[in-house]
């Protein structure tokens, strides 16, 4: 598998590192950029390619946030974490969304990698 590019948006450094570390232990995923605002991430996406977008959002906003990122990066997979990291939604265009609650590191990594794999 070629190295996949991820960006992280509005998540604390510890959580960002944690997810990056969990994914990197299982697949060649490298975090290229970290953003403290969604607007900065959207500007970056319009100029660069991202395979995976990991974003923290309020639970009620995750659907809209994911849709917005997928509109800007149609080939990406978006992982949205909410409820303090208890809930995760993984979505990509033309692939059914997965909703994970009380998610474990393995479940999260497996779900994300399955999506990335399905995108080729």
């Amino acid at each position: 598998m070629t190295e996949l590019t991820a960006i992280v948006v509005t998540l604390s450094p510890i959580v960002t590192d944690l997810i990056a570390s969990l994914l990197a232990a299982r697949a060649p995923v490298a975090v290229a950029e970290r953003f403290t605002t969604r607007r900065a991430a959207e500007a970056w996406i319009s100029l660069h390619k991202a395979d995976l977008i990991i974003v923290g959002a309020a639970e009620e906003d995750t659907g809209d946030v994911i849709s917005r990122f997928l509109a800007l990066a149609p080939g990406a997979t978006v992982l949205a974490l909410s409820d303090g990291g208890r809930c995760a939604r993984v979505r990509a265009n033309n692939v059914s969304e997965r909703l994970l609650s009380d998610v474990s590191p393995d479940q999260l990594a497996d779900a994300v990698l399955a999506f990335l794999g399905s995108r080729g």
Partner: protein
Amino acid sequence: MIVSETRLYREGLAEALARTGALDICGHSDGAKAALDALGELTPDVVLLDAAIGDGPGFAAAMAKTAPQTSIVVMALTEAPSEVLRWVEAGATGYIPRSTSLAEVARTVLEIVDGAQNCAPRVTSALLQRLRKLSEAAANRSNEINGTQLTARELQIARFIAAGMSNKQIARQLDVGLATIKSHVHNLLGKLEVQRRGQVVGRLGTKPWVKDAGREAMSRAN
């Protein structure tokens, strides 16, 4: 031991920290009750406590009482002075700021256990201010007899009276007029609600310095 209500953080952090080899993770727990139960069995040196846990400071206080030998390190804490004070006063040994990277967590934990907490300047300042207020409050309490606030001079005279010194001896000792001492003694007796100077000792009975007042005052007089 890691305590977090969020499984992803709890298990993920355990996995990531174990990988560093700097810390042995003896267990993790998803809540306060389970963690308190596990403390006796696991006897960890350090508990890494997620700042987002429900009633965190209350839990830290219970943990500090249950296992006083265990260091409680609050993880991913927003470094606001009021937040830090709230946790520290509850019993936390230290904290890892929310801005800390995962790579720094193990080192930060070891530093805290070693007695070296790295604080933002505004947090250090808040801690110093708090210390000063506590010190002032303690000083005020030491001047308080049965809920009555004595002036420093009245307290000094009360000590001499407790040591059995006469007004004349006290006046000589303090190098002031006898009338001044009589006035202070009058005010002192009024504040302590006693009629005679012999009753002063009874009013001061619980103060730790009363026992030594005689020796101290007499040595000063000599």
